[in-house]
Symmetry: C2
Subunit: 233 residues, 2 copies
């Protein structure tokens, strides 16, 4: 993420390549799948960039990961997915925001975050079995454990869903953690508060759908919801 001119980042990439190579502060690379996959597994909304007839489009969409493949889905008429398939190549970015960083100077304000930028080919999943597996991955990525409970898709529902696979050819992770950088002279500015304000995606109390004939108990994966991983403290 670009959080300003003084950002301190820990980039990494999955396999060598020119697209995912982090140019700024590249010496801080974490070139391992564990970092990249950890960020991908904690997030569940990605931003898919593809080039269509009218230029670049960036679409938010949910995803699930199986190895080096991300599965995305949508309605058969979904314009962004069609554009990405037609284009053949896409960039998928996932960003987790961990906090605001307040320096004494405006210049050194920043954001703590973890992001992954991945590049690779996009293709339609046509086979019914891979489609079924991809949708199971998607549901369990959104809410681990849910797949065992939810009614599986019918043949008709499978036909009414477009599933695409994005195969990660290259990826880079960028991570910023910690407190503000400061100019030494600014440390004397005792009237300006400086520090971090941690942020996280927090779950509120579940809201039951009351339209059913019988209402089930709230499952643990809902009442104890949390994304895998969490910010590196």
């Amino acid at each position: 993420m670009s959080t300003g001119p003084d950002e301190t980042t820990l980039p990494g990439h999955l396999g060598p390549g020119t697209r995912a190579r982090v140019r700024r502060l590249a010496e801080r690379g974490l070139y391992d799948e564990a970092t990249v996959f950890g960020i991908l597994d904690e997030g569940f909304v990605c931003h898919l960039g593809a080039v269509g007839a009218e230029g670049v489009v960036v679409v938010p969409t949910i995803y699930g990961r199986a190895g080096r493949t991300l599965y995305l889905h949508g309605a058969p008429g979904n314009h962004a997915l069609r554009s990405a398939i037609a284009c053949g190549q896409a960039c998928v970015t996932v960003t987790l925001v961990d906090g605001l960083v307040l320096a004494r100077s405006a210049f050194h304000h920043s954001v703590n975050y973890r992001s992954v930028m991945a590049f690779g080919p996009v293709s339609e999943v046509g086979g019914t079995e891979e489609k079924r597996q991809a949708l199971a991955v998607l549901v369990d990525h959104l809410l681990p454990g849910r797949g065992a409970d939810a009614r599986p898709p019918s043949e008709e529902e499978l036909r009414a869903t477009r599933v695409v696979r994005f195969d990660i050819e290259e990826a880079s992770a960028k991570v910023r953690t910690g407190g503000p950088n400061e100019e030494p002279a600014d440390l004397a500015l005792g009237h300006i508060w400086a520090g971090q304000l941690p942020l996280r995606l927090a779950a509120g109390p579940p809201v039951v759908d009351t339209t059913g004939a019988v209402l089930a108990a709230v499952p643990g994966y809902v009442s104890d919801y949390g994304r895998a991983g969490g910010p590196p403290c």
Copy 2:
């Protein structure tokens, strides 16, 4: 956001145009600046998509809004910003996640969210005065009220910052709210819990930076931090 084949969305666009036009369920449009600007003002991380020599790149970056202009910034050597300026046109997407939607069927699982997709030209801000104003907008967008406290940028810091403006020519908002859609037959599946799990970006206790000579009291804009707006309940 594409959250599956059955998504129910409230799209809108800012000015007519072919790029921002929402194709799916377009009859539900909210074509007003208030909706688009409300989402842009609550968010502070956007995903900037631009086409460079090696294809499309989607970069997360913070922003501030002034009217129909979004200001972005980075180091002078920032590759994504340079690509966007060279390309001339970009797509900027902001996504706020409001919750998970659990239907009895895997098919009808979804996400409550609010997103804006905007299109327009990107250009470098060269003038010192606009640069200064843009950075003030950025700091106060990140944390309303902070600009009055933080030490303003020096001439040297201004030179060390690349600022770009993204002028919104077209924009569309998409919003999903509410509980799950269900197939009527699924309502009898009393063993499957269904409902919503609200999610929001929550602040934890501030972490003071203790490197200063004198430590200021925590300001209200930190201790009572919250993004403008909030999910439409």
